[in-house]
């Protein structure tokens, strides 16, 4: 269990950034995972109260503040209309309503956790992170970067003409996924994210042509590396991913 020596609610992002440059200090998200860790935090930096818990929708994009909760995502009409319920599907299996009322989008994305449904789903969209110092970075680049001392301020979903579906497989309800897939058809390309491999999510692409769903799913799955842990072997994960991706491609082919 972590211990905290001092607790600060900064009044500006600059103040929060300065505090966060010390290695012993930590930004607080929902604190769902952080508190399960060990070690001593010198200063806990709480971003709540800075107005970063809003979802703004414009004609071009959704701007999601880092302190928005997963429950806000789940209930947001605009996001779920745009994603045809994919975002709701990606969060609704995460523990329970109380957990989702606390866990934050910023914590889920910045942590780049291997088990993250949110990261997997967002990776299949035209998604960006807005970092306080680093500016706006495509999520697909951010996911490959090492963690640093910057602050994730907003997550941005740009609206484009894409169809997306999200699916995951779990050993039991509310558990971490054994495998998670976000499948999107963007123009002439299939963009598929695979998470809970159990490593962090990756994005793979394949041209949308005359091939059938099984062939495309096979090619996409071959691009992904899978690992083993107590929830499943790499072979099992690969077999699951192939089937789940094929089914979502078939469904999207019918829709498009």
């Amino acid at each position: 269990m972590i211990t905290i020596n001092s607790y600060v609610k900064p009044e500006s992002l600059e103040e929060a950034y300065e505090l966060n440059q010390k290695r012993a200090n930590r930004i607080l998200g929902g604190m769902m995972w952080m508190r399960l860790g060990s070690g001593r935090v010198q200063t806990a930096i709480d971003l709540s109260g800075m107005g970063l818990d809003q979802i703004e929708e414009s004609e071009e994009e959704f701007k999601i503040g880092c302190m928005c909760t997963l429950r806000q995502l789940e209930l947001h009409k605009g996001i779920n209309q745009y994603t045809d319920g994919a975002v709701r599907e990606c969060v609704r299996h995460i523990v329970g309503v109380q957990f989702r009322n606390q866990a934050t989008v910023g914590g889920s994305i910045f942590g780049r956790f291997g088990f993250s449904d949110v990261l997997t789903c967002f990776l299949a969209m035209d998604c960006y992170v807005e970092l306080y110092k680093g500016g706006i970075v495509p999520l697909r680049e951010f996911v490959c970067q090492k963690r640093d001392r910057d602050i994730l301020v907003n997550v941005i979903i740009r609206k484009d003409v894409r169809k997306i579906r999200y699916v995951s497989s779990r050993r039991t309800k509310t558990d971490f996924p054994v495998i998670a897939c976000g499948v999107a058809k963007a123009g002439e390309e299939w963009q598929v994210s695979v998470g809970a491999r159990p490593m962090k999510a990756v994005l793979v692409t394949e041209k949308a042509d005359e091939r059938n769903a099984a062939e495309i799913a096979e090619k996409l799955t071959e691009q992904v590396t899978f690992g083993s842990n107590m929830r499943g072997s790499s072979e099992y994960r690969k077999a699951l991913a192939k089937v789940l991706i094929r089914r979502q491609i078939e469904a999207l082919m019918e829709e498009c």
Partner: protein
Amino acid sequence: MEVKFILNGKQTTADIKEDTVLLDLLRAKGCYSVKCGCETTNCGLCTVWIDGTPSLSCSVLAARVEGKEVTTLEGLQEEAAEFGAFLAAEGAEQCGYCSPGFIMNVLAMVRELEDPTLEEVKEYLAGNLCRCTGYMGQLRAIKKYLEMKRGTK
């Protein structure tokens, strides 16, 4: 450090350590309905409302409720007793340890969802674990409770 918040309708002040979690503060304030179960955010036993939103008090820093309104089962005794009677009638509790958190989340659900289906009920309550009953009695109790609420609306 000092934290000021409203606990079950009463202005409350407490002197806390920076890493005190809300669960421990509430029990120190005499709210013994708030139970510690898994301590890993999975079981829902420690559910309280923060500004009306069901939350896991084992995972909230007490410092974070500054200026907020916290409600525990002690603050909802009449409603809790009403739903508790349905649980009892259906034999839906055995050890009873999970009941306070479960009742808090059921009462939150009733406020949030207009006319929930069985699937919506199950989804809303997925974060409340009970190791005794197998949930069937609880679901029967909720069904009858909702029927009663609909009849009285």
